[in-house]
């Protein structure tokens, strides 16, 4: 570097300044190269924090691992997963989990959307009602389940009383296999519809007014406005709210466990309840972990589908496709 400076006839003082500048540039380049890694370090640590339990769960899921039979522990590789294929209980769990998640999301979406449309206009009354409607969301789901358990008690439950007035003398709510799913879905809807409502209401209120004004000037009927303008523009919000609820519903535990522990029979045996019972009651760690890994895979696939659709709709809303 110095030799080259001399070649161009620079003074020694200038050479020194130039050397310091070059050192500074080099240090700057190094810090620019290192900085991204430093900045991503916390994210990396969080990732490791997530991946260690996840990796452990996969590791356990590949083992014959019961705490009550420590002598029997060993790798059985995919046997836990293969066993599921021949177990009617597993297919029942899969079916119940998907039906529960599907029904709760659809019903809560419809109800949430309906309520949001009713509260769309910014008036004091609507704002007040929207705050009041959020109250169930502030209740812990397990408390809501216990509350409904009391309200559906055949001896003194108020809901049982109303059912008797309506002519359903022997309506057994969560105690009967034919009505158990309805009962837990009812609790889920009571707790989580406000979540859908508040997200969709925010979406509705943020929609630009111009398309609606133009449609009104052209005399487009209100229901056509809803189908052709409101719903397509609201779709990213619908998908976001549905995704959040789907992820939650497919992993349902507290409401079902508090109400029926997965019964009567296996009527409400969803993944989380089954895995919980396998772990804490049967101490069958291998099977419990395998169930949770399958649940993770289902959740991953479903959320990917949702996110891809959400991105596509967002691009369309921006006019990019």
């Amino acid at each position: 570097m110095t030799g080259r400076s001399h070649r161009f006839g620079l003074s020694p003082r200038f050479e020194k300044i130039s050397e310091v500048q070059h050192k500074g540039i080099r240090a700057g380049r190094i810090s620019r190269e290192v900085l991204p890694y430093l900045l991503s370090l916390p994210a990396l640590l969080v990732c490791i924090g997530i991946l260690i339990p996840f990796g452990t769960a996969i590791w356990y899921s590949l083992q014959r691992y019961r705490l009550s039979q420590p002598w029997n522990r060993g790798m059985n590789w995919g046997e836990n997963y293969l066993n599921f294929l021949s177990e009617p209980d597993f297919w029942n769990t899969l079916q119940v989990s998907l039906v529960y998640a599907g029904l709760t999301v659809v019903l809560e979406l419809l109800l949430g959307l309906g309520i949001a449309l009713l509260l769309r206009r910014r008036t004091r009354l609507n704002n007040f009602i929207s705050v009041i409607l959020l109250m169930p969301l502030m209740t812990a789901p397990v408390l809501a389940a216990l509350m409904f358990k009391l309200m559906t008690n055949p001896n003194f439950g108020i809901l049982s009383y109303f059912m008797q007035l309506a002519g359903f003398e022997d309506f057994r709510w969560g105690s009967d296999p034919s009505t158990a799913l309805f009962t837990v879905i009812l609790v889920d809807i009571w707790v989580y519809t406000p979540f859908m409502m508040i997200l969709l209401l925010a979406g509705l209120r943020s929609l630009p007014p111009q398309p609606f004004e133009a449609a009104a000037l052209d005399g487009v009927p209100r229901w056509q406005q809803f189908w052709r303008i409101t719903l397509p523009m609201l779709m990213p919000y619908v998908l976001t709210a549905s995704l959040f609820r789907l992820l939650d519903s497919i992993q349902q535990f507290d409401i079902i466990y508090a109400l029926t522990q997965g019964g009567p029979g296996d009527t409400l045996m969803v993944f989380q309840v089954e895995a919980y019972l396998n772990f804490f009651q049967s101490t069958n760690i291998g099977r419990s972990a395998a169930l949770l890994i399958i649940l993770w895979a289902i959740t991953f696939v479903l959320s990917n589908m949702f996110v891809k659709n959400w991105l596509r709709l967002r691009e369309r809303a921006r006019g990019e496709i």
Partner: protein
Amino acid sequence: MHEKERDLVSAFMRGEMDRRELIRGLGALGVTAGTAGTLLNMAATKAMAADFDWMKHSGKSIKILLNKHPYTDALLANLDNFKSMTGMEVAYDIFPEDVYFDKVTAALSSRSSEYDAFMVGAYMTWTYGPAGWIVDHNEWIMDSDKTNPAYNWTDMIEGVRKSCAWNGRPGGALGSDDAMQWCVPWGYEQNNLSYNAAMLENSGIGIPNNLDELMEAAAKVQADNEGIYGIGVRGSRSWATIHPGFLSAYSNLGEVDLNVSADGKLSAAMNTDASKEFHAKWVKMIQDSGAADWSSHTWYQVGTDLGAGKSAIIYDADILGYFMNGGENAMAGQLAYAPFAASGNGAPTPNIWIWSLSMSKFSRDLDATWYFMQWATGTEHALFGARNMDFVNPVRQSVWDDPMFRDRIAQSYPGYVEMHDVSAPGAAIKFTAQPLFFDLTTEWAASLQKMVANEVPVDEGLDQLAESVNRQLNEAGLG
């Protein structure tokens, strides 16, 4: 304690007067029965300390894990006596039953040394013992250097004591000579009948003597008393549905849960003809006379419905009948008790639930912990709890023989002591000890729910259950 009272208690401790004379003497001095019990307990503690070096672990601390229960209340009420006698500190955590066993499992499976001892059901030790989480207490019970000579281990009711001992071999007999004492009994529950005497009288029904009579009585009392159901039994999707009245009746009829072959292999025994006949009757009894929301009934609903006058009879833990017959319950003072043999032949043979204490293998000081264990399961504390608190059912025969305890129970809970006396000789755990206990009994309960809901016929349901049980036993290398 005043001089005269102390003299009286000392004379009693020396055996110079009997219990009635003592109570009469204390009564003359204006001391109530409750206070007399406390005075006796203090004196007994002093006497106990005289024969054994209770101060050996003075200055040490232990921590125990407890379930919210009347046994725990009795323990805490008397704990200062232990602390002053030993100079030890005892810390504790108390959890409600809903989460209690999750907490125990989490603490033990993580090999945590936080808790030195904990409350446990005997069934749980079939998991904890083979997993290596709890100790074989024989090592301490049989060591005269570590155990108070007055501990009197054989005073524990035989069936109860043996039910806490297992050799760890699947299908191995409980209480065999090579068995390990996984837990030390503390209090226990027999499964018999508790009933609303007025309701049965209103229907002109006598006490049922076998399962058929029980079914008929439940149906008739329900028909004759408006707004109630006939029989309370558990129904939730849990192993706890199987162990009380259901298994007591099942085993009394000569049926077993599992067959054990000569080479120690296990196989399902729930689908024999006799078992199917029993299940069909049980299912019909619930359908005809059980609670409308039976499938969500745990011990809590079974007990409170009887106490609230919503049910006429329960076939469940006797202590539910005990607790519902007092306090603020609507039916307090109106309940009665009867020992029950489903076969109608011979004495009852109830299956039992045992609240016990176990020492964690991960305890940092097992010898010091054993001092607490032997005190908590000893005669003096059991007498204190039985006389002054609701420490029922005690596991020591000497407590059941205690006139003060018997008088107290006879006055407030007529028929309870007699029921216990008749049932105690046949009371024991009737399940086959094996490590899949919770899996198989929970599935049994789920099958029962399906049968009661008419989702599956009894025959078919039991065949399916047996097939599933055999598959699980084979997978675990037990079948």
